[in-house]
């Protein structure tokens, strides 16, 4: 190791030798960096899951423009909008087609008395262009009363149910005392607000949600004429519909707005974002502690090196070398532990928590940056190394 580093740096790896000489301190420092990494990874993992589960429902639907009530916050947490708005929209130049979309939460009761809250999408089976292709294929079948597509990622539903569904065997369960029959699956995944997703026809939706009326869907989905500008049609819709009660969004913008809302205006998003910050601070403080103690412990040696003619860049090099060692060797265990915890968390909660290369790279470079910053602060102590004090 030491010979390799000597070759790499073109000088003796003093920082590495110094750190590895004091094994206890090195272990404590690495554990600290790994722990900070773990903190950041867990927060980012949960934030990622939050983001995933926020945009995942969008994968069920298709459409150029989303028209909603201004009372709603996100796709799945929306107010109701009058269906007459849809007829108004259909009269506007450039609008090719429009459908109402009904979204609500239904309790799925298991045989054992437990239940799962399912986010239920009521879709117009006559207009498959507003459903994702893999949902559209199944829409015809949903015309049969009280049938549904059940989310494979639903929390609290046993895996055997999905095995049976894959084999084509329907699965009947109860919602509010009525029987619903799952005849197929979708793959959306549980989120923070619901345990899973159910896709049904708009007729079935209204039957199971007696308080909801066909005249007041959750959103209106709009497709524009081929070749028409989505932006132009959006502007026309905004001019035609009352801005104080109706919100018109391009579909991609709606997903982005949901993400922004969930991560900055909902406490969950803020808490986990704050957690990332805490993790970073913990890491910086630990590395600073280790490096500045190490500098203080070696002032005499550094003063000796100064007397021998070593200059400031050499000493900065030592401290940054130590920061680099801590960053790399602290990141590895932190990454491994986080990967294991992600798996555990995902299997327990069914949240889409997974280690992504982008996150890992981000955290690694963040660790490097944080360690370098701590190193930079710790180098202030180098000034205390005065060769005149050596004799």
């Amino acid at each position: 190791m030491s010979r390799f580093l000597t070759w790499l740096f073109g000088r003796l790896p003093i920082g590495w030798l110094q750190l590895s000489h004091n094994k206890t301190r090195l272990a404590a420092a690495l554990a600290g960096v790994a722990f900070a990494n773990l903190l950041v990874f867990m927060q980012l993992g949960i934030l990622g899951a939050l983001n995933n589960s926020t945009v995942a429902p969008y994968t069920l639907i298709r459409g150029d423009i989303l028209v909603s009530s201004t009372e709603g916050d996100t796709l799945t947490d929306s107010g109701n909008i009058a269906r007459t708005r849809m007829f108004q929209a259909l009269g506007i130049a450039g609008v090719k087609s429009a459908v109402p979309l009904y979204i609500g939460t239904l309790p799925l009761s298991m045989g054992d008395g437990t239940s799962a809250a399912l986010l239920t999408f009521g879709m117009d089976t006559a207009q498959p262009e507003f459903a994702a292709p893999w949902v559209a294929r199944e829409l015809d079948a949903l015309n049969i009363e009280s049938t549904a597509l059940l989310d494979k990622g639903s929390r609290g539903v046993s895996a055997s149910v999905f095995e049976r569904l894959e084999r084509g065997e329907p699965y009947a369960f109860e919602i509010n005392g009525r029987t619903m029959t799952a005849i197929g699956t979708v793959d959306v995944g549980g989120g923070f607000l619901a345990d899973g997703t159910l896709v049904v026809s708009d007729q079935t939706f209204l039957r199971f949600n007696p308080k909801r009326s066909g005249g007041a869907p959750s959103h209106i989905l709009i497709n524009v004429d081929d070749g028409a500008s989505v932006q132009t049609v959006k502007t026309r819709l905004e001019a035609a519909l009352p801005a104080e009660s109706v919100k018109v969004q391009i579909m991609q913008d709606a997903a982005a707005a949901d993400l922004a809302f969930m991560s900055t205006e909902r406490p969950t998003g803020i808490i986990f974002g704050f957690g990332v910050l805490i993790g970073i601070i913990v890491g910086i403080v630990i590395v600073y502690q280790v490096l500045s103690t190490d500098v203080a412990d070696h002032l005499k040696e550094y003063a000796t090196f100064k007397a021998m003619g070593y200059d400031q860049p050499f000493f900065l090099g030592i401290v940054f070398e130590e920061a680099l060692v801590l960053a790399i060797f602290g990141f590895i265990p932190g990454f491994l532990a986080s990967s294991v915890l992600y798996k555990a968390l995902a299997s327990v909660t069914n949240l889409p928590v997974e280690m992504q290369a982008g996150t890992a790279i981000l955290v690694f470079f963040g660790t490097l940056a944080a360690c370098t910053l701590s190193g930079a602060i710790a180098t202030r102590r180098l000034a205390a190394a005065d060769p005149a004090d050596l004799f």
Partner: protein
């Protein structure tokens, strides 16, 4: 000063502290030290030996008067000049000041690496050779913690000599050692210095070393009170 002198000191005064606490430690010192000689600085504790050594060794800023070291005026010299000059010097301290996490070889290599010359393999070979000269060829890869006091000081001597410095400054290099190893280290220093034409300035109280000196300068209360050449 002339070309035969490694060090020339003219009208050197030095003060510690400020205002009322200001105290003069060096009083009007004038010296020429010949190249290749072994000069010993003596004097009671507090007489200013260390202060004088750090001043002419460019470890401490010159306040008043002038110090020429290897043809370079130290007074008001920029830090970069001092750093470059220090690379032509060797220091041996009372405490060996070896780096505890470096082996004997690596400690000696540090004396070479500062010059940035040669690759690690050559530096290692040169360090092994130097450690052989101070009688430590069987301790090359020992950490300082596993060496005796005399062995550590010999590593420090090897580190100071390995880069063939023009001047060696040593402050009581034998104080932490028993008499026998103390004398043997100074003999070694003198012999290696003679072979290489190195100038050596050494502070010591050790009477048994005096006979090795080309010149003995005695300080009292910051002044030179005697200057003799025993040989």
């Amino acid at each position: 000063m002339g070309p035969e002198h490694a060090i020339t000191v003219v009208g050197l005064n030095h003060y510690f502290g400020h205002d009322e606490a200001r105290k003069q430690a060096i009083w009007d010192v004038n010296l020429n030290i010949r190249k290749g000689s072994l000069t010993i600085l003596m004097g009671p504790s507090g007489s200013g030996k260390t202060t004088l050594l750090t001043l002419i060794g460019c470890l401490r800023d010159v306040q008043e008067g002038s110090v020429h070291l290897l043809d370079q005026e130290l007074r008001d010299a920029p830090e970069a000049v001092l750093v470059a000059l220090r690379r032509k010097l060797g220091f041996i301290f009372q405490a060996h000041n070896l780096h505890e996490s470096l082996t004997a070889t690596q400690n000696v290599m540090m004396g070479l690496q500062v010059h940035g010359k040669g690759n690690a393999r050559l530096q290692r070979a040169a360090s092994h050779h130097m450690l052989g000269l101070v009688g430590l060829s069987d301790r090359l890869d020992y950490l300082p913690g596993n060496l005796s006091g005399g062995q550590k000081q010999r590593v420090a001597v090897a580190r100071a000599l390995v880069s063939n410095p023009d001047v060696i400054f040593a402050d009581e290099p034998t104080a932490a050692l028993d008499k026998v190893s103390g004398v043997s280290i100074v003999r070694m220093l003198k012999q290696l210095g003679q072979e290489r034409g190195t100038t050596t300035v050494m502070v010591t109280h050790d009477n048994r070393i005096l006979e090795l000196a080309d010149r003995i300068i005695t300080l009292e209360e910051g002044r030179v009170v005697s200057d003799t050449s025993p040989i």
